[in-house]
């Protein structure tokens, strides 16, 4: 899919709540499909899926401009799709094919799309936090009104890069929004076993910046929160830490069945599933007619089938791709 179509996907999410809903359905189906492909042994390596966190992804994509650079984690398929990347370039990357967004040499943890503002996603916990501050430094030095967004998980709130990045962004008043996707688990460990406070947003106080808790299961609230924080950043108000409370339905990576989860925890979160609740809201507002949700699911399923076919037809990553971009030439 060309640049124009990727931008069109981005605009749709930015402008239309039903399109946002459709993208959330796409993300869920995509992640389920990826898990299935791994289970069938059709892809090698590892993958980290983000079922349950769809509202965070569309919230970011809807509020940010493509010129606002985003740093994101290795659990990035959902945010990539939300930002406008197509299923085939992400699936292609996961499956190591030429059609992949990086030509198949990077894999599931490393997505990138410069036009859509996505820096290479980070497989080192917390690394993207100061990097986002650096992108914000460029906007500040050049005097543009772009901002940067640093997305990370709750596990990153205990690594030095989090503290150093927030401190630097605060003292330099940089136009950056830090978004913690608190999905309750850092790899295999529940957050209360690793972190002595309940709300990570509280940590913003140490750096003298606003720390705001957001319902990460509600796409209307995530869009609004990111939009408001970006507006503050653009107008010279400095950084904000948003803690989006959400939940990771899958294990940490493909090998993890998440058997450490307490009984009933998943079920409690699923009662507030972001897709189900958003669908009910759109239906009650009359934006989704009877049967419209099923049509969307069918449309998404067909799109993913087509994407999988395109990926299967694409050749494996080439030696040229492996050697091609080690050093940039002047």
């Amino acid at each position: 899919m060309g640049d124009g179509q990727r931008m069109e996907r981005r605009r749709a999410v930015a402008n239309d709540r039903v399109a946002r809903y459709e993208r959330m359905v796409e993300i869920r189906a995509f992640e389920d499909r990826v898990q299935g492909l791994f289970a069938q042994g059709l892809v090698h390596g590892t993958t980290h899926t983000a079922q349950g966190q769809e509202a965070v992804a569309v919230g970011i994509a809807a509020a940010a401009r493509p010129t606002d650079l985003v740093t994101c984690t290795y659990r990035g398929h959902g945010i990539g799709l939300a930002l406008g990347m197509t299923p085939e370039v992400i699936l292609g990357e996961i499956m190591g094919r030429e059609i992949g967004c990086v030509g198949g040499i990077a894999g599931s943890m490393h997505l990138c799309d410069r036009e859509l503002g996505l820096l290479p996603t980070f497989a080192i916990i917390g690394a993207g936090i100061p990097v986002a501050a650096g992108a914000a430094l460029t906007a500040q030095v050049r005097g543009t009104d772009d901002a940067a967004i640093g997305v990370f998980g709750d596990g990153a709130a205990n690594i030095g890069a989090f503290h150093e990045g927030l401190n630097l962004a605060a003292i330099w008043n940089l136009p950056v929004v830090f978004i913690c996707e608190n999905n309750q688990y850092g790899e295999y460990s529940r957050i209360d076993l690793t972190t002595p406070i309940e709300d990570l947003a509280d940590r913003a106080a140490s750096y003298g910046i606003p720390g705001i808790i957001v319902d990460g299961q509600d796409p209307d609230q995530t869009v609004e929160a990111v939009g408001a924080a970006l507006a503050v950043a653009r107008s010279g108000g400095g950084p904000t830490l948003l803690e989006m409370k959400t939940y990771r339905y899958a294990g940490h990576s493909r090998a993890d069945k998440a058997e450490y989860r307490p009984e009933g925890e998943f079920e409690r979160w699923y009662e507030r599933d972001p897709i189900n609740t958003f669908r009910a809201r759109l239906e009650s507002e009359g934006l989704l007619a009877a049967g419209a949700a099923e049509e969307i699911e069918q449309k998404v399923a067909a799109r993913l089938e087509a994407a999988l076919r395109a990926v299967e037809e694409s050749p494996p990553a080439t030696v040229d791709a492996m050697f091609g971009n080690i050093y940039a030439s002047a």
Partner: protein, 339 residues
């Protein structure tokens, strides 16, 4: 030509790049108001202002991460690491982020950042502030790395490093900051990356050195009337000038490498292996590496000087190599230590 100290040459290179390119910014610990702990950024804040010249907190991981993000989004940041050891807490940003961005974006992003770090022994800073640590970066494709050997080298290589579209680590021997030399500034003073520089002609042996050891190798070469040594300043450690070094050694038939770092896994190991493999059968003597022993850098003045190769020791080692055609033992074997 202007006579200046190496730290002044560093500051001059930074200033000239900042004058020519508004995207060049400088940050690090104490680099702005204080002008740098080694006065390598003296005057920059006054000329370019607080937006482009910034003091950071003591947060190497944070500010090198910022350099990565700033570089990927269009600036040309130059970050200073006061002592190379402080890079240890931030190595991810250089090796695993900056060095991979171009690869991980299929060329869409570049990361034109420069990381300057002071290195080396000789000033009594003890073993946590006297290492060179170039091999932290030498196994990470995507990075470039240079080592300065004096004022002209500082001016010329730093300007190239800042202009380069890739992340470049610039290693600056601290003991050389105060040393003076004539410097050609401006475009004519710029030295290309990736090219070694012959600093002395000679026939009997090719001595490859870098950083503070260039002066040592030169002094050793000047001191002998029995043989003449060609001395090469490698300048760029990654990617090093394979063709230049191989063709030089092909002419003399002998290779001696002088390094200011422990014997095991030094940068010279790579040179020795490559040249040995390429010129097997053409060499008239085994490749000789003159290095420090595999110990932490000692503090006491006499021991610290003994730890590093000095001109007398280098001369003696080359004398033995030429007289016997065999690799001489390092000095510590005479002290009953393992080679």
């Amino acid at each position: 030509m202007v006579r200046m100290r190496m730290n002044q040459a560093v500051a001059a290179a930074l200033a000239d790049e900042m004058r020519e390119d508004p995207d060049v910014v400088v940050f690090g610990e104490d680099v702005a108001v204080a002008g740098g702990p080694f006065k390598t950024s003296d005057g920059l804040l006054e000329e370019f202002g607080p937006s482009r010249v910034r003091d950071t907190p003591i947060s190497e991981m944070g500010f090198l991460g910022m350099a990565v993000g700033a570089a990927a989004s269009g600036l040309r940041p130059v970050a200073e690491i006061m002592f190379i050891e402080f890079l240890g807490v931030a190595l991810d940003m250089v090796v695993t982020e900056a060095g991979k961005f171009h690869f991980l974006s299929r060329g869409a992003f570049t990361c034109p950042m420069t990381v300057r770090a002071s290195i080396g022994a000789g000033l009594g800073f003890g073993c946590q502030h006297s290492q060179t640590m170039e091999n932290w970066m030498s196994h990470a494709p995507g990075l470039k790395m240079v080592m300065l050997s004096g004022p002209q080298s500082a001016y010329g290589l730093l300007r190239s490093a800042i202009r380069d579209p890739n992340p470049v680590v610039v290693l600056e021997p601290r003991a050389l900051y105060g040393g003076r030399g004539q410097v050609t500034t401006g475009a004519d003073g710029i030295l290309p990356l990736g090219e070694a520089r012959r600093v002395r002609e000679g026939e009997a042996v090719t001595v490859v050195s870098a950083g503070a050891m260039v002066k040592v190798a030169l002094a050793a070469a000047e001191s002998s009337d029995d043989w003449s040594a060609e001395v090469i300043d490698l300048q760029t450690l990654i990617p090093w000038d394979r063709d230049g070094v191989v063709s030089a050694v092909r002419r003399t038939g002998r290779l001696v490498i002088v390094e200011e770092s422990p014997y095991t896994s030094g940068w010279g190991t790579e040179i020795a292996a490559h040249v040995g493999a390429r010129l097997f059968g053409e060499l008239r003597a085994p490749v000789l590496r003159i290095t420090c022993p595999d110990v932490p850098v000692p503090f006491g003045r006499e021991l610290e000087q003994r730890y590093m190769p000095n001109p007398g020791y280098v001369t003696d080692q080359i004398d033995q190599l030429l007289a016997t055609g065999r690799t001489p033992d390092p000095w510590w074997v005479g002290e009953g230590r393992r080679a």
